[in-house]
Amino acid sequence: MTAGLIRRFWVNPTSLTGALVVAAVVLAAILAPWISPFDPLEQDIAARLTGPSPAHFLGTDTFGRDVLSRLMHAARISLVIGVASIAIAMAMGSAIGIAAGYIGGKFDACVTGLLDVLLSFPTLLLGLMVVAMMGPSMDNLILAIALTELAPFARVARAPTIALKDREFVEAGRALGFSDMRLVVVHIVPNLLSEVVVVASLWLATAIRTESSLSFIGLGIKPPTPTWGGMIREGFENIMDAPWLAVAPSVAILVTVLGLSLMGDGLRDALDPKGQRD
């Protein structure tokens, strides 16, 4: 089953492209301290706002810092925030959804209602509120983004839980004297994990976008630490003279988000038993 899944994922050109793009970005981020041509914080006032050249592949910014180096280091921050916030959102959201689906009744109705309220807020607005309340820092940013993406995970986990709790093997487990906790953790969770993982890979792109947006409006990581959103904002001031400053991080975000989305789609197709073409 697993081997077939991996094969279906790899033979699909969409998911293969996505995976390669994501792998390249991740690799660049991990290896940034060793392979980036310059220190991302090193200023060279003599060489400020130079265009792309053999020395500075993507030019320099208004302080003379190397854009390519900053871009690679910024990828570290974006990926860490994205992955951490999605991990938290996945764990908490799934737990809420599974609890609601398994317990059912009034509890389910209350939780579903609250989730609908949460879903009705635009992602960015909700993140903005949380960061504004708690102050911009890496931890708060992760928490804010996790909170905005809780609801989709809860929804995705709740529906299969409702179906699974009445399946015969769960009934059989109950007849063998297993506790509710054991039934949920050992018998229900592994059966809905694949659906949750697909959602995680799709929402990771959104998490990175949200982080960039918050950094862009100045509620993200404080300068001089490079972030993609922050770099776009800085580049905005010189968009007429030095367009590469804003364009380079924009393209980085675009490529990363596209890669993650393609990978998520491929993963979903590979896991969908109805979509098996072979």
Binding site: M1, E168, A172, R174, A175, L176, G177, P190, N191
Partner: protein, 326 residues
């Protein structure tokens, strides 16, 4: 009967609907001794599965409940009203149940060995190695070929009959005293049915089990049952030793059931289907539940509900036509 493993008295299961409690099981008395197979026979909706679920304490709540005057005793210990954590210790440990659908009764994401081992870890506190060693023994016992290798396989790699064997291994892993089998062979091919039935029969002797075998297949009953309880509309209408029941059915419903089995040695024209359907709960009149479908029904049958009356030493019948012994 003092040596009964299971003793059920006045069991009533009710369901809430439209602001009222309606009885799905109406005052059942039965008992099963060690080494005995009791077949519970009836159509869909006769309450036979609900009787088994009551013993397990698995009547779906909050829609359903076991009426407070009911009594279910396992080795003399009252099960009705036990708190959930006490019931958890009995389920799978002292009483086990196997289900109709072996295709869906196993967790698709767990290996077969792990599933058999699981109840040993829960009830016996075995560690991983002890539990899988015991699981291997159980799979050997239920005659899964090359069990050692197949332990690591997933349910989808097993055929229906093999899965039912795995289910039986899971159920019996903790050596329960009572096995409730809810139509365990209905979904299997006839040849596989016979194998699984003889396996259950062997294990019954080996473990000294009391078996409650729920089925609507009278052919299966004839093969394995020591005693039979025929259920209709939530009541036992006839209880007898299996050979007696087949040789001399007394209740009109039992007679009708036997007449509706297709037989190779008889013409299809002699097949007599029972007209109508089982009355729905909440739609039962004052009289006998079977009266509306009974070809022998008299005025009294529609007005008064008959009691289960003894008819000889080992038989009881719920019918006005079967008079009390003089």
């Amino acid at each position: 009967m003092t040596d009964a493993v299971l003793e059920i008295r006045k069991l009533a299961v009710e369901f809430h609907s439209g602001g009222q409690w309606h009885a799905a099981v109406r005052g059942i008395d039965l008992s099963i001794a060690q080494n005995e197979t009791l077949a519970v026979v009836g159509e869909s909706g006769s309450g036979k599965s609900m009787t088994a679920l009551s013993v397990m304490g698995l009547v779906p709540t909050p829609a359903g409940r076991i009426a407070p005057e009911s009594s279910i005793k396992l080795h003399g210990r009252e099960l009705v009203g036990l708190p959930e954590h006490e019931l958890d210790r009995i389920r799978g440990n002292r009483v086990a149940m196997i289900f109709q659908e072996p295709m869906t009764a196993l967790n698709p994401t767990m290996t077969v060995g792990a599933q058999v081992a699981e109840s040993l870890r829960v009830h016996r506190g075995f560690n991983g190695a002890q539990a899988s060693a015991e699981a291997l023994k159980m799979l050997d016992l239920v005659k899964v070929p090359s069990a050692g290798k197949r332990m690591k396989d997933y349910p989808h790699q097993f055929s229906g009959g093999m899965r039912q064997r795995v289910m039986i291994a899971m159920a019996l892993a903790c050596h329960p005293k009572l096995l409730l089998a809810d139509e365990p062979t209905t979904a299997l091919d006839v040849t596989i049915q016979a194998q699984v039935l003889s396996l259950i029969e062997d294990l019954k002797t080996e473990y000294g089990l009391a078996v409650m075998f729920i089925t609507h297949n009278l052919g299966v009953v004839a093969l394995i049952a020591d005693r039979v309880a025929v259920m209709y509309a939530g009541e036992i209408v006839e209880a007898a030793l299996a050979p007696d029941l087949f040789a001399r059915p007394r209740h009109p419903y039992t007679q009708a059931l036997l007449a509706s089995i297709p037989r190779v040695d008889r013409d299809l024209k002699m097949l007599e289907p029972i007209q109508g359907n089982v009355p729905t709960i909440g739609n039962l009149g004052a009289g006998c539940g079977f009266a509306s479908r009974c070809t022998h029904a008299q005025v009294r049958c529609h007005r008064e509900r008959p009691q289960l009356m003894p008819d000889g030493p080992a038989r009881a019948v719920r019918c006005w036509l079967v008079g009390p012994p003089p």
